[in-house]
């Protein structure tokens, strides 16, 4: 480790991509996500509400405290960064304090770092003479990962420093932000992006970066990334990198990169559940599936699609299977019981689909009786 480290130390950690002095050569290696980040608020796709409010602010209106929430890759960070850059121009670096989950964000930091930062006064003009708001912005990225105690410590700071400081909280789940904080902010929900917007953007990038990809494969990519722009762009870049220059990106590449489970596996699993197959067969299949290392959650998602699409299943049975699916999926996501849960789901679906309803009712009743006996003893 020491040998590893003594290769030389540079005091300067990685600079932000916008640093003016960044050498040109570096930009080549920038992730496309950073490279194609919107530069101005106007560039932000969709999210009309937030954009319009920010545009007003840039034109001189008062900036409220902000809370952006929504699924990943919908442009929350991009929006606020672009707005800040427009607001402050060159002063951008000193007017912004960006904190995220990787920084210490306990109560201590809230108390000291944020306080000291917010107590600095800000000038109302830029170096180049342009006017800019006498404000500083604290961006709390991934605010839902903050502890409740830290959030509670924040609320008073937020109120006290309104004169000089604005807060911008970014999070995926607004429910994890405590009520007093949400009530102090203007909330904006960032919707998942429309696929056409994503497709448009990707096509632009493909042209600029010389990526060879068929339109239908690109469509699959957009569809599988589910309205997450970052994911789509990253996937595109990864595929391009994997393939190298001059060769077409294949469907398999997209699937691999986006960790999609090929439908052949889900199909055969579904077939196995439909007919009264031997338990050994099911176990063998699940073993094989596990060896493929597909993410189990994706399997469940696919199974759900299958369930919804299959027309020859009675709706009542569908709901029963759906319930079991939800249970298994949830349990899988909470622990490591993938094998057990899948097996449980398979056997139950099989039972639901093959056994007559009355018999299952009888059995359920009997089981319930048995359980109550257990409870009473």
């Amino acid at each position: 480790m020491q040998a590893f480290l003594k290769m030389g130390k540079l005091g300067e950690p990685s600079a932000s991509p916008s640093t003016s002095g960044a050498p040109k050569k570096k930009t080549k290696n920038l992730p496309w996500v950073e490279k194609y980040r919107p530069k101005t608020v106007e560039d932000v796709v969709e999210q009309r509400e937030a954009v319009s409010v920010l545009q007003q602010c840039i034109l001189g209106a008062d900036l409220p405290n902000l809370l952006f929430y929504g699924p990943p890759g919908t442009g929350k960070t991009s929006t606020i960064l672009a707005a800040a850059r427009q607001l402050f121009g060159d002063l951008y670096k000193e007017r912004i304090l960006e904190l995220n989950a990787s920084d210490e964000r306990g109560i201590q930091v809230i108390r000291e770092k944020i306080k000291t930062f917010s107590q600095l006064t800000a000038n109302s003009s830029r170096a180049d003479g342009k006017l800019c708001p006498a404000l500083k912005i604290v961006i709390l990225d991934e605010a839902d990962a903050m502890t409740h105690a830290a959030q509670a410590a924040l609320r008073r700071t937020m109120e006290k420093e309104t004169k000089t400081t604005r807060f911008c909280l970014l999070c995926n789940y607004v429910s994890r932000i405590i009520e007093p904080l949400t009530s102090r902010c203007t909330k904006f929900r960032f919707k998942p992006l429309n696929q056409s917007f994503v497709l448009e953007r990707l096509q632009e990038i493909c042209q600029v970066e010389d990526v060879l990809i068929n339109d239908d494969i690109l469509n699959v990519l957009v569809k599988e990334s589910g309205g997450d722009m970052r994911r789509a762009i990253t996937a595109l870049q990864s595929c391009a990198n994997l393939k190298g220059k001059g060769s077409h990106i294949t469907l398999e590449n997209v699937y691999e990169v986006l960790t999609v489970v090929p439908s052949k596996w889900v199909n055969s699993f579904w077939d196995l559940c439909k007919k009264p197959s031997d338990i050994k067969e099911i176990i063998q299949f699940i073993d094989d599936l596990e060896q493929q290392a597909y993410p189990i959650q994706k399997v469940y998602e696919h199974l759900n699609d299958f369930l919804m699409d299959s027309e020859n299943i009675d709706d009542r049975l569908k709901s029963e299977i759906g319930e079991k699916l939800a249970e298994s999926s949830f349990r899988s996501s909470c622990g490591r019981g993938d094998f057990t849960n899948l097996l449980d789901f398979a056997v139950h679906t099989q039972e639901i689909l093959t056994e007559p309803l009355e018999r299952r009712r009888m059995q359920a009743l009997e089981n319930a009786k048995f359980t109550t006996i257990l409870g009473l003893s």
């Binding site: 030389g8 540079l10 290696n29 995220n100 060896q291 622990g335 490591r336």
Partner: protein
């Protein structure tokens, strides 16, 4: 030097990998392209994740990565507790298993990566990369806290530091990390692939091994190539290469099967106590609970009547879920065993009634 066959015949280059050759080619492209993303390598145990990672590193940095050193580093937690972590490093990369630090994995992830990322190589010749690689193993064992910490660290130090994460399953990894990495799936080799590799090794070792035995081994290992090669070598050392011989099985597997037999043999309180002893023994030996559960369920389900299987599995998944929610694994396992005993006994009684 003579080694275990597993180590002796391990491929060292991307080009010499025996299976998933398409993927190997793509990885090569990726390395050549110059812009190297963070990787998340996942796949079942024994499928060759580590082998691939080492190959990638060699592709990136050349033979220099093979000059490995072991080192223990200490990390100081905020509560001033010193945690010692084993690392393996070369001049270009460092490998850590942050889950070694237990609940302090967050500190390890943050401090170490920061430290590494902030140190930069001085002389960047044409051949060299301007980043170093941190290999984190068993990422699926990281706490959520540590994963969140990792998420930003990855972005922040992306200029001079790349991460290669290694995991057996994607499920416990938060989406934020998944979306920041290029996922590399390493599925287990197929039975045919395993057979080919074993026969190749045997040829090199001048060992005549019957094809039927090779096939038997390949089928028995559930795609775990490491185990396959080890079993093969064990057979050779024992000088018993008969096609119909019993294959050596790890003791813990045998032990779990015995436990299942005890459970189905008789349902009584004394047996519960015996089972408890067994479970304690297994857990104490470091067999992870999910593996115990899986093996036990497989053994039990194969032993019991088709009629009660759905209910048994329903209970199994409930108890396993609770086990992950709780703290004391043993209690939940035992509760499942006893529940199974109850169900089994009731079913036997019902059967007797019918006669």
């Amino acid at each position: 030097m003579s080694l275990l066959w597993v180590d002796k015949y391990r491929p060292k280059d991307l080009s010499t990998l025996d299976y998933h050759t398409q993927q190997a080619q793509e990885l090569k492209n990726l390395v050549e392209h110059g812009d190297f993303p963070h990787l998340l390598v996942y796949g079942p145990s024994g499928a060759g994740k580590k082998t691939r990672i080492m190959c990638i590193l060699k592709e990136l940095f050349g033979t220099g990565v093979e000059r490995l050193k072991s080192e223990n580093i200490t990390v100081t937690t905020p509560s001033n507790k010193k945690v010692e972590i084993m690392t393996i490093n070369s001049n270009y990369h460092i490998e850590i298993n942050p889950s070694d630090a237990g609940i302090y994995d967050r500190v390890v992830v943050m401090d170490l990566i920061k430290k590494i990322a902030q140190s930069q190589q001085i002389a960047i010749t044409n051949n060299q990369r301007e980043f170093k690689v941190v290999v984190l193993t068993e990422v699926d064992n990281l706490t959520k806290d540590a994963q969140h910490a990792l998420r930003r660290t990855m972005e922040k130090y992306s200029r001079n530091c790349r991460l290669i994460l290694c995991a057996t399953s994607l499920s416990p990894i938060i989406p934020a990390i998944q979306s920041r990495c290029l996922p590399i799936r390493v599925p287990a080799p197929t039975i045919e692939e395993i057979s080919t590799i074993i026969s190749k090794i045997c040829k090199k070792e001048d060992t005549a091994i019957p094809a039927t035995l090779i096939e038997k081994i390949s089928k028995s290992v559930n795609g775990n190539l490491r185990r396959a090669i080890l079993i093969c070598e064990a057979c050779k050392v024992e000088n018993n290469l008969q096609p119909n011989r019993e294959l050596p099985e790890p003791d813990w597997k045998v032990f779990i099967k015995q436990t299942a037999t005890i459970i189905t043999h008789r349902q009584s309180i004394e047996n519960i106590m015996v089972v408890r002893e067994h479970l304690y023994e297994l857990l104490a030996s470091g067999i992870p609970p999910e593996i115990i559960f899986k093996e036990l369920i497989t053994a039990l389900v194969l032993k019991c009547d088709k009629q009660i299987i759905p209910q048994v599995l329903q209970e199994a998944s409930t108890y396993e879920y609770r086990m992950w929610q709780g703290n004391k694994h043993i209690v939940h396992m035992e509760a499942f065993v006893v529940k199974f005993m109850c169900l089994y006994q009731r079913h036997l009684k019902d059967l007797l009634k019918d006669f």
